[in-house]
Symmetry: D2
Subunit: 314 residues, 4 copies
């Protein structure tokens, strides 16, 4: 027990910055305090020059969190991005000029009607069928431009090629390309992006090698003095980042942050505690770690805005 | 569908206020957007002069949220408070000079050891046995001072009497007394506060009538033009506030906000949707309503800080 | 670690009894194993003659779980029942001849329409407005019959009086009366039943004393050699049963089972771990305990059916 | 509303079969009723000869659910299996003679100690480091035996080759091979199995083509008259099975069952409602569907045991 650390009740004030609020969270309990811990850990990751892995699952791009990821890449707060095909697909859809739309959350859901109207629902977000046509057209043009280089290409290599051919400044894929941040997506086949790559490859040179990234990824895990990981959601990005540490018995992350609503008791990896990860050697025994149990659309902006204050960004 | 409302990706900036962040949340999705909706609804409640009921469950006082509640009372944002005996007990413990303490959330839990050391755990918060002794001593003095007025006293009446005898300016009970905001606590018997009241009453005049508040409470529900409710958690406060509306077939809240982690699918009232409440007439069909599914220690400060900005408080 | 206990994969077979399935659960993991643990603990509670407290929250009567509770009372598996006013209200509604109805869970919810049709929704269950009229009529007749005995009556006393005047053999209140199992309901005021008692009392003799049960309840906690508790949901019943143990520093339950979907991380008492309860002295350090994280409409029947097999009932 | 369907309270009896219990669940509410719905839907899938897709995420093999999956394959209840690399890895570990072990869930977690002792924790299950060495040795022997056929092999092809070389009768991979049920695992790279395949391939002929299955998989989706899907958990298997339906605008599953603890409100695909899937055309508007919100280690055995009764198996 930290014997002398009293709970201090939050005092709100007009114009209070997010950074000030989160500092106050450090003296509260439950999940608000966990956010303050996460900011402290992330700050230490940045200051110690740890290599910062970032696992992004969930529908964070449709939710309006794209620029946060792009900016974190820009500011050097993400060194390695591991994400789902879905987030990359939605990033591309916006890069090609389409949009996600909001619907009123109090409106009853009329999914059969939506189907007939060509509207695809992601909880309270909409995407029109046209977006997928635009995606296909633009992506095939890019694939064509990639040409021979697309033969037996790694997924991170494909992302670099695509990133260099996108103009949207806010695009995660573009920004990662510019900042030389590799994007890994081990389950690319499990996305519209992956489906398009496969379909194009049926009649053209493109062939994606889902295993070709493993060397680069494990090198990234082992060649740095210190390393940290931030996990949004769970899923494949969480497992993939952690499993790489299993290749080296002396390894393990020095820092780990997870934001999730999953729970530990059902035994799935997404909800597994970061202590459990210590037993596997994925995180060091001495590794600083925290899980925030809350919706990432709330927590990620809070952590990031607080870091912006502390690190004097923008 | 609000056809033209695009998802706009959050842009964070240095020194950004909580109010600005929440305004940005209004163009995102999932639970972050729900927070923005909640702020809009609360603001409308304030501006239309609706009577504002506030149901507070969960361990919000031990968590460091006491001053938020006190300030909301002070600013006229809570007209009627319904809460648990636990929150009132912990409010009193602090009013009598004791503290809640934080422990490191990464430390393993040693509950058997804590037991031997006289430490009572509330997740990552501690309270020492001494606090309960201090509570008893001080509360009995107050009960003695109340004297004859304590015979057949209503729970809200008891709170007023106690509130007038507390000096702690931050205390919810004190502040409610000062601002003439009634505190209802239908399950007072289910708390240490209630136990103390009962024990004292065994040998003294105090006798608490748990049903004596019903007239006042139902009058409060029906005598105002507009009414709104904010529910933190669920539990007895949620049910009690809503059931009062069943006494008048034409009634129903005009506004409703809930912050909870409970889920709808298990059928309990705490997690029941606000749409379900419409079928009972607890909320008007036209009533504006939103549930934020997240930890209240994060969400309540966000909503309140955002309102402070908008309403120009402090 | 139990070194030699291997996971044994479940083998299903035709006509397999629930008891056999749960025995198999004992060699699986996660929540299925927790059910097997719960059955073992409950069986030991019965065999050691522990006093068995049972805390029942949630909408278990509307959900079709009434007879399980009645039968558990009948078989001597519940010695003390602590529940919500809602469960008692719905028990009475059925005792007076009304029914709960099921709706298709795939049907869209039309709560505004339901409101106009006099249908009250509890997730996928319906109750008609008429049920509440029937409740009022019948309850007032019973109150009238109780007469003078209703003055300053304790809640458990009121339940006994009501139970003796109900004919429905399946009613929990009736069965508890027959078996001399006391029913405590500290938040009775927070229910339609409580509202009716209050309204009747406005013009008649009935006056309910919500604190009058405390002596009897704390005696029940301390006068038995061993004691155990089963908690369905959480809420007031969980807190009330546990807090009684705080009155005696040497006390604490020997056995504890909880079935809940609440989570620990938000700090509320409903989701608090049973280890946390050890720090308070609510459960003995040596107390056997388990939480099953799942919907009680699934888990309670499984536990109970398995006990029926083991204890050779019906 | 099904006007005349009353809630019927569950009646338990000695020796009651799981099938009888689940039949009773059909007249209860909340998640117990959803289990009864799931059994009805699965039975109709079997009887109409629908092609039955099965998405298996979560740590179901370590949890003791392996034989249920193997038997479902054996009985023709799974026509196409889509799963995670983790489940396949753990299936192989057992096929090669190693075991998963249970630890007491009431024991405090000592992950740092476990690390030093070579114990890897999966919630309340243990696996020793040796298991991974055994896995490597045996898998490399199989890879060697596969030889040239391993060049540019599809993942389902690799599973067939491995399956034909395993002797363990209970193995999912073996049973699927015997019954000619294809196993898809789009994120194989995200598992120890995948890591081993990659490492072996560094110096030998093996090269896995993660996209080579797409033709076969989409053919499976479109060439049958009726199709149904059962999803355990969510994750990649859920997304992969559903996304294949996007390739054909007239397609969509006729039946869909999901067992999950994920929630809808955070917008992730794992927790997305099956109604949302209708808007995408993944499930037909007329498709029968149900989600059971509970731990799959409880629900999957219940559904399957009930089907065993109905279909007269074993």
């Amino acid at each position: 027990m930290e014997k002398d650390k009293e709970v201090k009740h939050l005092m709100l004030s007009k114009g209070m910055s997010v950074g000030e609020l989160i500092d106050g969270f450090g003296y509260t309990a439950f999940n608000s305090r966990r956010i303050a811990d996460a900011v402290d850990i992330y700050e230490e990751m940045i200051e110690t020059g740890a290599r910062k892995f970032f696992g992004l699952a969930g529908a964070m791009v449709p939710a309006g969190m794209k620029n946060i990821i792009s900016d974190m890449i820009d500011w050097g707060w993400i060194d390695v991005l591991v994400t789902t095909g879905a987030n990359l697909t939605h990033d591309l859809i916006e890069a090609f000029g389409c949009h996600h739309y909001l619907r009123s959350s109090s409106e009853p859901e009329k999914d059969a009607e939506f189907r007939r109207e060509g509207i695809n629902r992601i909880y309270d977000v909409f995407l029109r069928d046209e977006a997928f046509i635009t995606l296909e057209t633009n992506l095939w043009e890019i694939f064509e431009d990639i040409g021979e280089k697309g033969k037996d290409i790694s997924i991170s290599g494909l992302m670099r090629e695509v990133g260099s051919r996108i103009e949207d400044e806010d695009s995660i894929i573009r920004r990662a390309y510019e900042k030389d941040v590799p994007i890994f997506c081990p389950a690319l086949a499990d996305s519209i992006f992956g489906l398009q790559a496969w379909m194009y490859g049926q009649t053209h040179h493109l062939s994606v090698n889902a295993f070709a990234d493993m060397r680069e990824f494990s090198d990234l895990c082992f060649e740095s003095d210190k390393s940290g990981v931030t996990i949004v959601g769970g899923g494949v990005p969480k497992n993939f980042i952690f499993q790489s540490m299993l290749l080296n018995p002396d390894a393990g992350f020095d820092y780990a942050i997870q934001i999730t609503m999953d729970r530990v008791e059902t035994g799935g990896l997404s909800g597994a505690s970061l202590e459990e990860a210590v037993s596997w050697g994925k995180i060091k025994e001495s590794g600083r770690r925290v899980v925030v149990y809350s919706d990432a659309t709330i927590v990620l902006p809070l952590i990031c805005a607080s870091l912006v204050d502390r690190m004097n960004k923008r």
